[in-house]
């Protein structure tokens, strides 16, 4: 992992098409501006981590079930 420090207003480039600017720092919160091509998806990493967790939970924790019955009785 590359570790470096930047000041407010400074920018980092990742390759030629992506740049990340430090817009401001308030306490433990950093505001970041990102410019990237539209085909690059930018998302908070925890969404991927949670999706991994949820996929695993969804796939492995469910027995054979009768949702139809469950839903009908549960809805009344």
């Amino acid at each position: 992992m590359l570790v470096l420090s930047r000041k407010k207003g400074e920018t980092l480039a990742i390759g030629e098409n992506i740049s990340i600017e430090i817009l401001g720092v308030e306490g433990d919160r950093v505001r970041i501006g990102i410019e990237a091509p539209r085909e690059v998806r930018i998302f908070r990493k925890e969404l991927l981590d949670e999706t991994i967790h949820m996929n695993k939970a969804a796939a492995t924790h469910i027995p054979v079930l009768d949702f139809q019955k469950e839903l009908e009785s549960g809805g009344e």
């Binding site: 930018i42 908070r44 969404l47 999706t51 991994i52 996929n55 969804a58 079930l65 839903l71």
Partner: protein
């Protein structure tokens, strides 16, 4: 070829379209072949069953069946990657998490699985948007849909 599955017993792949996930699914990177199963008792949920691991089957919903205002933006690069030429070939699924308390079941709207039904290639993408919660309660919507279907059938019968 017939495969053995943990939940659904033997399944003949001759009747099924195998969906290839070149990169697997998040959490199951090594599993890249799934089939979509429709099981009568668990409707309107579908199941994404791995054909490589008998124990792995993810319950999924088709969001457009429940939400009138479900909206996702799929990037050109993603459409190209899946070689989607006709929008009608695009299938969107959301993975459902069912806790012990079934009423609390949620769908992961932030990570739709997009599939080209013509070529049988798919991918799960992550979309970071306020209107796409990662845990979206879906139980009530399913009930509403089930009840709605019954009510419609009844009213038609009365009119007749």
């Amino acid at each position: 070829m017939v495969i053995e599955t943990d939940r659904f017993g033997e399944i003949d792949l001759a009747d099924k379209k195998v969906i290839e996930f070149p990169g697997g699914l998040p959490g199951f990177e090594e599993l890249n072949q799934f089939i979509i199963l429709e099981v009568t008792e668990s409707k309107p949920l579908y199941w994404l069953q791995s054909i490589q691991d008998a124990y792995i089957a993810l319950p999924v919903v088709i969001p457009f069946e429940f939400m009138d205002d479900y909206f996702i933006e799929i990037r050109d690069a993603e459409l190209e990657e899946l070689e989607i030429e006709n929008n009608g070939d695009l299938l969107v699924l959301n993975v459902v998490t069912v806790p012990e308390e079934v009423h609390s079941m949620t769908a992961n709207l932030a990570a739709p699985i997009i599939i080209n039904t013509r070529t049988g290639v798919g991918r799960q993408i992550i979309i970071d948007a306020r209107e796409l919660p990662i845990r979206y309660p879906i139980f009530e919507l399913i009930i509403k849909k089930l009840k709605g279907g019954e009510a419609d059938a009844g009213s038609v019968a009365e009119e007749g």
